[in-house]
Symmetry: C2
Subunit: 422 residues, 2 copies
Amino acid sequence: MSAGNTPLRFDIDARSRTCAARMGRITTKHGSFDTPAFMPVGTQGTVKGLLPWDVAKTGAQIILGNTYHLMLRPGSPLIARRGGLHSFIGWPGPILTDSGGYQAFSLSNTNSIDEDGVTFKSIIDGSMVRLTPERAIEVQNELGADIIMAFDDCPPSVDPSTVNASHGEVRTARGAEKITDHNDRLEESLKRTTRWLERCARAHARPEDQSLFGIVQGGTDLERRTRSAREITAIDLSGYAIGGVAVGEGPDEIRRVVNHTAPLLPVDKPRYLMGVGYERDLLTAVRAGVDMFDCVLPTRNGRNANAFTRTGQIRLRNAKFAEDDAPIDPACGCPVCRPTEHGWATVGGQPFSRAYLRHLFHAREMLGAILVSLHNVWHFEALLLDIRRAIRDDGWSALEVAWPVLTGGDSSQLGAVPDAQV
Amino acid sequence: MSAGNTPLRFDIDARSRTCAARMGRITTKHGSFDTPAFMPVGTQGTVKGLLPWDVAKTGAQIILGNTYHLMLRPGSPLIARRGGLHSFIGWPGPILTDSGGYQAFSLSNTNSIDEDGVTFKSIIDGSMVRLTPERAIEVQNELGADIIMAFDDCPPSVDPSTVNASHGEVRTARGAEKITDHNDRLEESLKRTTRWLERCARAHARPEDQSLFGIVQGGTDLERRTRSAREITAIDLSGYAIGGVAVGEGPDEIRRVVNHTAPLLPVDKPRYLMGVGYERDLLTAVRAGVDMFDCVLPTRNGRNANAFTRTGQIRLRNAKFAEDDAPIDPACGCPVCRPTEHGWATVGGQPFSRAYLRHLFHAREMLGAILVSLHNVWHFEALLLDIRRAIRDDGWSALEVAWPVLTGGDSSQLGAVPDAQV
C-alpha cells in the first residue's frame, strides 16, 4: 500500500475514553502496521532464530534493524547494492532502523564524543569508526528503512562522577571524557541532541521514501524532558521517540518519565518509546499515548530458555519442568503452544511440552531457542493485539484478567538475561 | 493410516525395466512414506535447526532418531511416560530409531565388547553404560519408533593391526581389545551380529506396533557380505539393512558392496542402506534396489554453511558470494530459493541470496544454519522425489540432466564437514 506522496501516514481509528491510549495504523511505502505496535528486533538483519514468515505469523508487521551492526557488517553500501535492507533480508514489510548512536556509546569501551560526532572502536574488527549525524543518516538512507531515527547524544544513565572521578576525568560506558559536573554533561547532551537533529534533518536525502523520527532525551529529570520535547518537536518530523528510558531504572521511574513525556509530543503523530520493555511497561506507555515499541527481550530471553507467559516468565531449564507435559502457556495460541491450530497435527493434538523444550535446551539443540523465541515474540504480539482491542472497547479490566502479568504477576522477576551466542 | 494387524506394509508400485530400482510405499501405524525414501536425522529428538512442519514441508515423511543419544538424555523411560517419541517431539509421522550400537562403538574411547554386549562411557556424564541386544530393544520399545534396528556388532572399518599391534592388543575406535588377527575379529563380528539379531528378535516386546529390521555386516569383503546376508535374512523380519557402509571407504567401494549385497536381500521387503550418503551414492543404491536412506549431511553441512546444489556443494562463507544475489541453487524449488512460491512475497520475488546467507554465517546468526539446513534437506528430498519419478518412467537420462551432480558434478568434493555446536 502506498502512502501517497508522503512516506508515512498515521491514522488514528479509536481513542480510549479513560486514558490517552489510541489505536490506529501507520502506513509506509512497504505497507502498514497496526498501532500500538511491538517491533521485534532484527539486529543484524534477522530476528534471531526466526524465519521471516514465522516472524510475520506472530502478528509482527514491522521489524527493527540496527544501523550500528549493519554498517560494520556487511556494510550499508553492500546492502544498498542488494536493493536495500527489505530486499537483502527478505522482509517485504515496514522496517525501522535506529541511528547507531546508542550502540556506539554503549558497546565500545573506546569512544570519544565531540560536537561533530562520535568515534568508537568497532566490535567486529577493532578499527576506529566515526559516526556523525550526517553519516548516521547517510547509512540509514543506504539501508532504506521506512522509518529512520535521528542520531542523538545518549548521556550516561548514571552520574559517572559517582563511579570514578578522582582525576576530574571519568570512565563511563562512553569511555574517557572530561566531565566536571554530571549536570553540565546532561545539559550539554540535551542541547547537542537538538543541534544534531537539525543536522540529521538537513542531511536526510530520501525524504520521499523514508520518515525521520526525532528523539527526546532528558533522563529522569522531568524538567529536562520538557525542554527536550519542546526543542525536538519544534522541528517538523513524521514522528517522535522517547529515548534514554529503560536503561537501568525501575518500572516506577519508567512510568514517571513516560507519563510526563508522552503528552508533550504532538497528538497527531506517532510516538515511539525506544527499547521498552516488559508487559507492564508497555501497558503503562500505551495508556500515556505511546504507539510504537521495540525490545530484544522476546528473542534474547527465548535463546536462554526463559519463556514469557501470561502469569510471568518461566525458566525452562529448571528441573521441575522435566516431566511437565503442559505447553509454555496454556492460554497462548502460538504454534508452539497450539500446533494443531496452526495446521500441524501432533499426536493427540499435544503441544510442544515444557518437558521437550527443557530437553532441547539441555541437549544444546537450536530448536529450543527457535521454539521459545517464536513463542515469546507471539506472546508480545498477542499482548499488543489485546491492547489494541482494549483501546477500541475500553476493555481494560478484561485485558488485565486475561494478562495477570500486567497486574499481579511479575514478568520482570527473572529480569533480562545476558545475551549468548546460541 | 493403519497397516492392519501387521505394523508394516510394503507396497511396490513400479519397477525399473533397466535396473533393480523399485518405487512404492511403506505404511506404518503412524502413516506411510514413499520409497525410495530419504530420512533426515533427528539425533536428539529434533532434526537440527528445523521446525517439524518445515521438515515435513521439504517432503520428508519419516525421520530418524538416535537411541544412543536419547537413552542417555532425556532417557527412554521419560520419553515413554510422555507417550513415546512421536508424542514427545511433536512428529506425528513415521519414525525409525537405530539401535545405539554404532554410536556406542564410535563415540566413546572407552568401551569393551563381550559376547553379551558393549560397555561404554557416556558422552553426557562419563558414566559407564551397558548396551546389550535385549537392552537396545527395550530402549527402542520405550521410544516407540515405527521401525527399530537390531543391535549389531560393528567391526572396526580398518584393520586395527595396521594402526598399533605392538602388544597383541590394539586400540581402535572401539577401545582396547585383544585381537590377534583382524580377519578373526571380522569373522567373530559377523557371527555375533547374527546371534545378537536372534536375541533382538526374541526380546522385541512390541511386535504389533514396531517393525524390527536386521542389519547385514561384512565390511568390504563380498564373500562375508554374502554369508552375513544369508544368516540375517534367515530370520524372518519386516526389513533388512546394509550396515558398515560409508564408514570411510570411497564411492567405488560403496558401489561394489551395495551392488553385491542389495540383491541378496528379500525382494519383497524394504532394504535400508544405513548412513549413506552423497547424491551419487544414493542413486547407485537405488538402482541396486535399495529403498531407504538416512544421512546427517544435509543438516550437518547446512550448519557449517555448505549448501548442496544440483551441480555440487558450495561454501557460502566464501568471499566470492559476498555480493551474489542468486539463490543457493537456481533450479531448487525450496522456500529459501523460491520464497514467493511458498507464500512469502519478498521484494521483487527475490530469493534469500547467497550474499545474505554469507552475511548470516559471518555474523554467527542462527538463521544461516536454519535456512541452509532447510534448503539442504529439501535438496535431498527433491532428489528422491525425482528418483521415484525416474523409476516410474524409466527416465534415468532426464534425471541425470536435471541433477548434474549425479554424473559430472561432484557434490562430495567438499566432503563432510565436522559437526559444530551451532
